[in-house]
Amino acid sequence: MNIVLIFLISIFSISLFFYGKSKTKTISIKDNIKLNALPKFYGYYLVLWCSIPALVFLLVWSLFEPTIIKSIIIETAANQGAVFNDKNEANLIYEKIKAIHLGTYFGDIDSILKESALAYAKFINLFTNSKVVLIFGIIIASVVYSLKKIRNNNKARDDVEVILKGLLFVSSLIAILTTLGIIFSLLFESIKFFSVINIFDYLFGTNWSPQRAFVRDASSITAAEYEELKDAFGFIPLIAGTSFIAFIAMLVAVPVGLFSGIYMAEYASTKVRRVSKPIIEILAGIPTVVYGFFAALTVGPFFRQVGENLGLTVSSESALAAGLIMGIMIIPYVSSLSDDVINSVPQSLRDGSYAVGATKSETIKQVVIPAALPGIIGSVLLAVSRAIGETMIVVMAAGLAANLTINPLESTTTITTQIVMILVGDQEFDSPKTQSAFALGLTLFIATLVLNYIAQRAVKKYREKYD
């Protein structure tokens, strides 16, 4: 249906283009008007007016139609006498009704379902018909309006450009919409979560075991159940595990990245630089799932083998393996950012240092790095934010159980791992377990946002200093 409508809209638009183009030609010849715009702009003007309102309407309609129909149908089913206790059962009944309508349902059909299916068919029909009628109404209205506008108008180009500029503006607003969408979707579920679990129990709890929170209606939890639940969602072990793995990653990434950055910026000849820089940047281009596979199947078992030979017990999902591989993934972020930062330290500072007899490494250590420090710290912070948001490496190579440990040979878990573990497979919406994933997402989002903000401020301030 929608495709037919889009096809019709484009046919109309194309014919209107030629109509508008030829019409203005005849006008300008007949009335001897000097047009300020090429005839094609009159065509464009009609096309834009004919297509944009109709397409926007179609899009908005299609976005909201399923939700509205669903709520109407569930209500009618309830009025017919269907019984459901929570949202999941209501969804199930809705799916059944839909399947009966499509003829793909093979279970028992009782009178309630049958009636609801008929109602469903009726509503679908009603909605489709009103959609078509409204779209044609909109097209007719906007075409009549725009035809009126191009009469006695010799500045169609300006009008077209105003509309197009609006279009450009709307495209750039999508970034804001995405941010709003993220905040809305995270907050919406998190608020539900925090209405069940006290936010302090979440932030300061030391036990994370969401599997204890079975599916149950979040709105009717008794005090006794809550006592049990509040211990299941403690954030401390997750933030500890995340920071611990990120710390190990930084132990690898910062020295290696920083030294390569320094070498590239200060020592390497252009030839070496041209070859080695892209190769190091390959590390940033490799998908993280590949690192995860490597960490889980090669590095983890290798460490365990080495540990066994040394008489140590090493988990095959050790924090060390995950952290090491994550650190290697992050090397290029540190190295290329610090390379840039060091490159923008003014040459005069180095020359001054050489003039008083310092060697190159002394200059770097005592002049260049202190001067570049804010930028370097910024780049390290960016790398940290990447490390805590990284998902696939830890999902595949780190553990699932939340242990509070500082032994790198044991397994720990992270925020991102838990989000994936909770949401993978079938989820029950409205259970505190599912909602907790969104609360974790919100925490992660805020943490990375703060880190990025500080890092960007640091880099910017540093840039301003030498520009």
Partner: protein, 420 residues
Amino acid sequence: MTKEERLKKRHQAEKRFRFYGLTSIFVALLFVVILVQNIFSKGSSAFKKTVITTEIFFDQELLEIQNGASEEDIMEADFYDLMIENLIKAYPAKDRDEEDELLRLFSGDAEIEIKKAFLKDNNLIGKTITLDLTASDDIDQLHKGNYPRDLPEERRRISDFQLVIYDYFVENKKISKNFNNYFFNNGDSRDPELAGIGGALVGSFYSILICLLLAFPVAVLASIYLEEFAPKNKITDFIEININNLAAVPSIVYGLLALQILLATIQLPRSTPLVAGITLALMTLPRIIIPCRASLKAVPPSIREGALAVGASKFQSVFHHVVPLALPGTLSGTIIGLAQALGETAPLILIGMVAFVVDIPSSPVDPSSSLPVQVYLWSESAERGFVEKTSATIMMLLTFLIVMNFVAVYLRQKFEKRWN
């Protein structure tokens, strides 16, 4: 300490420092080599599959169809008995148990393979042909040398008797390696010897296509607005801050966004390339806008002023002159953004692409997998055969990424104008 000694020490410090730098670069490069070598050595064997050359006699008594049967009749006909009768002749087995063990050397698709041979030539009844039948995963791994034979029998998946048959096959040159067409054509399967990345390839293709169709136009229009038309005010600043922050948001957060908005609110179908494409587009958008703006910024103002001077409107100067000049940079930024999207896994897991999908999707609204998700799924499987499959999938993924990056670099170097 004399002056000379001090100087010597300082020069040694200099050398050490330089050495640390070189070592770091070397460590990073070494890791690239180790990773690539590890993946290639594990994965390259997956492009071949082990086949057992078997004689098949099309016995009229075991089939209900005649020579020259129509395609439909053949598809419906039962080849199971014919398969069993022929396969147990591959080695003289003594009893039922041995026959069962013999049959387990062949893949689960042996019946279909025989059927396919008959489909190709429907006059085979009463004749004998030799067919290369796919071997089971265990034999496949054994023949490729990935499977240790010297373990005690109870820890092996292959019994002693099966090893005897295998050696007999090797001796009589009945076992060989062919090009693994299943790996490229099949969808996912529980049997490693039949599992392929066909479905994942198509799923990834659709996802990236949708991502391109959504992200590219919006990103180009948005960067044109911000770079050429936006007034300097609070709204513009706010948009810019937003774009920079979005580029740094962890990808898994986009998965949560998709789950809540696209799946729960708008009710788009789960596990489909459509949802994956939209999610990846939202994620890629800021990462494309940033290079797009940089390449628009690199076009010198004289170009714009020249156009304006001969009477072009602001729009014409931008769309007729600035945008075409910025296009190579824009395209290469887009391709790099798409390459990142192609390797992205976490958000796709959240929107349900981890579902076990055997069929190859025929449209973007069919459930499907994608290449990186397939890597994740197979890496969780216990069977040995999936290790080489996973590595081979990574090889395919890396090949695509390398090609995309080369195209991006080529576009930029070949077509981008240098202005100074």
